[in-house]
């Protein structure tokens, strides 16, 4: 068993290579650049392709091209670059193409700054491109998961033939932790039934998202929706000390780590607090969350305006029996919510002395 003490951003590339990723296309941006740096070093070292694209629009269209040829490809970026990628993400979803996009959120909107934020939740989970599409979205909260969930993203992306997004933030990307290397490399997915490899077998295959006929385009959309429905079995989540909790803190990514420490502090003061953390944001672990929250109060911790909290509420509201209020403890602009703030907000929310 090999361990390495590395940045979350670097762990991403190890996960990608063990997944069998053939090519990395990317454009530098803080705080995601270390992913490109690691890729530039390690992809060629193991005989894979690394290319610094001319812009993020290009990066993602390259992902599209590589996927069309049946390759495993990835890119990494942060908000401003992710905005430029929306066009090709929509085309990939429309053409049933797999690929992995890692986005390391920084503060926005606009240029914002390079400090950690989670303000791109809607962009990643709801999609910012055109059309009725969804992406798989996974949210790691450690260097280990930056590696493991990048692998998982490839697996799911090729299973469902749709782009997968690994959603993280500047803090996770920059921090170093121990990574235990994956035990084995992933088997190569079979792609000759749909991809264009440049050989006789795949010559009849066609990659496109155009259906000029409205009924055909509707049928295509119906197929996509059916796929998103099937995808729901892939939900993943984690709970910490929820069993006897009065208050459940909700958070994904780095916020779940802060929530964990806050729960420990509150427990040490005699308050029963637990944490529910979605690992997959799309599909959203709605049943597990509803169960964890049943009969308890809830408060979301996030580095955004409440995008995640609102999404959790939306999921709960689909079933009237499950609907409940969710409090919010947040920061925006690149300020990380502190444990003290969560502790104070929890006490206020619960009317604890």
């Amino acid at each position: 068993m090999t361990t390495k003490f590395i940045k979350g951003n670097e762990a991403v590339i190890i996960g990608a290579l063990y997944a069998g990723c053939d090519a990395y296309f990317g454009y530098p941006i803080t705080p995601a650049s270390e992913i490109a740096h690691a890729a530039a070093k390690w992809f060629p070292s193991v005989g894979r392709e690394f290319l610094q694209a001319e812009c993020e629009t290009a990066s993602l269209n390259m992902l599209y091209g590589a996927a069309a040829a049946g390759a495993l490809a990835m890119t990494a970026t942060s908000g401003p670059g992710m905005s430029l990628m929306q066009e090709a993400i929509s085309y990939m979803a429309g053409a049933n193409l797999p690929g992995v996009i890692v986005t390391v959120m920084r503060a926005g909107p606009g240029l914002g700054n390079v400090y950690p934020e989670q303000g791109d939740y809607n962009q990643a989970v709801k999609g910012g491109g055109h059309g009725n599409y969804q992406c798989i979205c996974l949210a790691p909260n450690s260097a280990q998961e930056m590696c493991d969930l990048t692998m998982k993203a490839f697996e799911l992306s090729f299973k469902y033939l749709t782009p997968a997004i690994v959603l993280c933030d500047g803090l996770l990307g920059q921090m170093m932790e121990t990574l235990t290397l994956p035990e084995r490399e992933m088997p190569r997915p079979e792609t000759s039934s749909w991809a264009v490899h440049g050989n006789a077998e795949t010559r009849p295959n066609l990659i496109t998202s155009i259906f000029l006929d409205a009924p055909a385009q509707e049928e295509h959309n119906i197929q996509l929706q059916a796929k998103y429905e099937r995808m729901k079995v892939e939900v993943a989540s984690e709970e910490y000390l929820t069993e006897d909790a009065d208050l459940v803190l909700l958070g994904y990514g780095i916020s779940s780590r802060i929530a964990r420490t806050a729960a420990e502090v509150l427990r040490s003061q005699g308050y029963k607090v637990g944490v529910f953390r979605p690992i997959s944001l799309n599909p959203f672990p709605i049943d597990a969350m509803a169960k964890a929250l049943e009969g308890r109060r809830a408060m979301a911790i996030e580095l955004s305006s409440g995008q995640f909290r609102d999404d959790a509420l939306m999921h709960l509201s689909r079933d009237a029996k499950r609907y409940q209020e969710i409090g919010l403890c947040n920061h925006m602009g690149g300020i990380v919510v502190s444990v003290d703030e969560v502790v104070a907000a929890a006490k206020k929310y619960m009317n604890w002395a």
Partner: protein
């Protein structure tokens, strides 16, 4: 419908579910001729199975109705980026990017230019009809001066709309392209020249020699509002004046043949090296969580000091996290990092209330000393004036890390001095041996520094014994 034998093109075209033998192009359009020329060259050269054509968005968006080879439809303007990637992951494929003037020279110009500059292995066929065909006759980058289109109803005025774009001439400034030519499909003689250029571009792909660019002047009667004959005449009389035909470059004879990359290790072989292995952390509820903060100026080695402590903690099978400040804050200005050492999985890696604070400059002392928990320790460089009193119950040690390292002639080693202080004062609970090993391991790439630092540590420890531990 009677079946006919065809090679390279489908015998019947499956156009949106309807089978037909007519193309979707207007009478007199150049696209059909160009499609045929490409097909013929592809078949003649025996590369049909290997060929992948990137269809653009424009009138030729439906190239895949016709070409019996691999087809990929790209977003508007992105065909050269898409082609780039196909060529990178399928080195044996013959990649063709087929693009109109709006697609290639307006929305996608940079992708086309960059792919040409990188010398991607693909043939780019640039159909210049001086207008946007598919969207109904708007101005293109290649529209002629004075030309009336839907978006230049009074004629293209160069003062506000710029001049016609000469893509071949621009690309001829780049080093990487192997072949650049401009041809026309306006009459039979010209079609024969176009045929030769297309064939050449595909031979270059077949032989893995690099980037080939062929611009094809092509009539668009519908959007010029004239009949087929007049449209062809317009190409010959008007367009060739602006866009002279010819071969701009042919480096085929000198181009190097791309060789496959071989003999690289697998990721498993590459990452699982045989060097010293640190086993994963183990849960130890008895271990008290220790939170440390390292602060100073950028360039003082604050971040690597934190990493050394974290590495030593890993050696003792503790859960460990290291979290730096980064971005503009880190450059020139202050630098700081947080390290958490624990017997169980770590929650927040950010340290707001350190048990141990290491401080190498005044601003960070003043900013962070108040955060240290009662019973905690601060090790502060002696150059920092203690104008702010530490909180009650916090022990402050003064360490001349900067001065000592200067005296010993290694001004960059103040962080080593601080590590010695952490070790000697025993504030991390980590073993001396592990901290030292972590320090030496950090000089893996500069082994000469190991010996130097050994001496520095000795000197620092001596000073601490004589001054702090008495």
């Amino acid at each position: 419908m009677k079946t006919i034998q065809t090679v390279g093109m489908y015998p019947v075209f499956n156009r949106s579910g309807k089978e037909t033998r007519a193309t979707h192009y207007c009478a007199g359009c150049g696209h059909g001729i160009i499609h045929k020329l490409i097909t013929e060259a592809m078949v003649d050269l025996g590369i049909q199975d290997r060929t992948i054509i990137v269809n653009p968005i424009g009138c030729s968006v439906f190239g895949y109705y016709y070409w019996d080879c691999g087809n990929v439809g790209a977003a508007h303007g992105r065909a050269s980026a898409v082609g780039t990637a196909i060529n990178r992951v399928k080195k044996d494929a013959v990649v063709i990017s087929y693009q109109g003037d709006g697609d290639l020279a307006a929305i996608g110009f940079n992708h086309t230019f960059q792919a040409a500059n990188r010398g991607e292995h693909m043939a780019v066929f640039f159909v210049n009809n001086a207008i946007y065909g598919m969207t109904g006759g708007q101005m293109a980058p290649t529209s002629l001066v004075g030309m009336k289109t839907k978006t230049s109803p009074f004629g293209r005025d160069p003062l506000t709309m710029g001049y016609p774009t000469h893509v071949c001439e621009i690309f001829n400034q780049l080093k990487a392209p192997v072949f650049i030519a401009r041809v026309s499909v306006a009459d039979t003689k010209r079609i024969m020249q176009a045929k030769a250029a297309i064939r050449k571009a595909l031979e270059i792909q077949r032989d893995k020699k690099g980037y080939a660019f062929v611009e094809l002047i092509s009539p668009c009667p519908t959007n010029l509002g004239v009949n087929a004959l007049k449209a062809a005449q317009f190409c010959i009389d008007q367009m060739e004046k602006e866009y002279p035909l010819g071969t701009f470059r042919d480096e085929t004879a000198n181009a190097e043949v791309r060789q496959p990359v071989k003999g690289k290790p697998s990721p498993k072989e590459f990452f699982e090296d045989d060097s010293h292995q640190v086993p994963p952390a183990v849960i130890d509820p008895a271990a008290k969580e220790l939170r440390l903060k390292f602060t100073g100026f950028g360039g003082q080695g604050i971040l690597s000091l934190g990493i050394c402590v974290a590495e030593a903690a890993r050696e003792e099978r503790r859960f460990t996290s290291w979290y730096p400040s980064y971005g503009p804050e880190q450059r020139g200005g202050s630098a700081q990092c947080s390290v958490v050492i624990s017997g169980s999985p770590i929650g927040s890696p950010a340290v707001d209330h350190p048990d141990v604070l290491v401080c190498m400059n005044q601003p960070s002392y003043e900013r962070y000393i108040g955060d240290v928990v009662p019973g905690g320790v601060a090790i502060v460089d002696s150059t920092v004036p203690l104008e702010v009193a530490p909180p009650e119950g916090v022990t402050v040690h003064r360490m001349p890390a900067i001065d000592l390292s200067l005296q010993l002639g290694v001004p960059k080693a103040a962080n080593t001095m601080m590590l010695a202080a952490l070790m000697k004062l025993g504030v991390t609970g980590l073993q001396r041996e592990h901290l030292l090993n972590a320090l030496y391991a950090s000089f893996k790439k500069k082994p000469e520094l190991v010996e130097k630092n050994r001496v520095l540590v000795q000197e620092a420890e001596k000073w601490i014994e004589e001054n702090l531990l008495k």
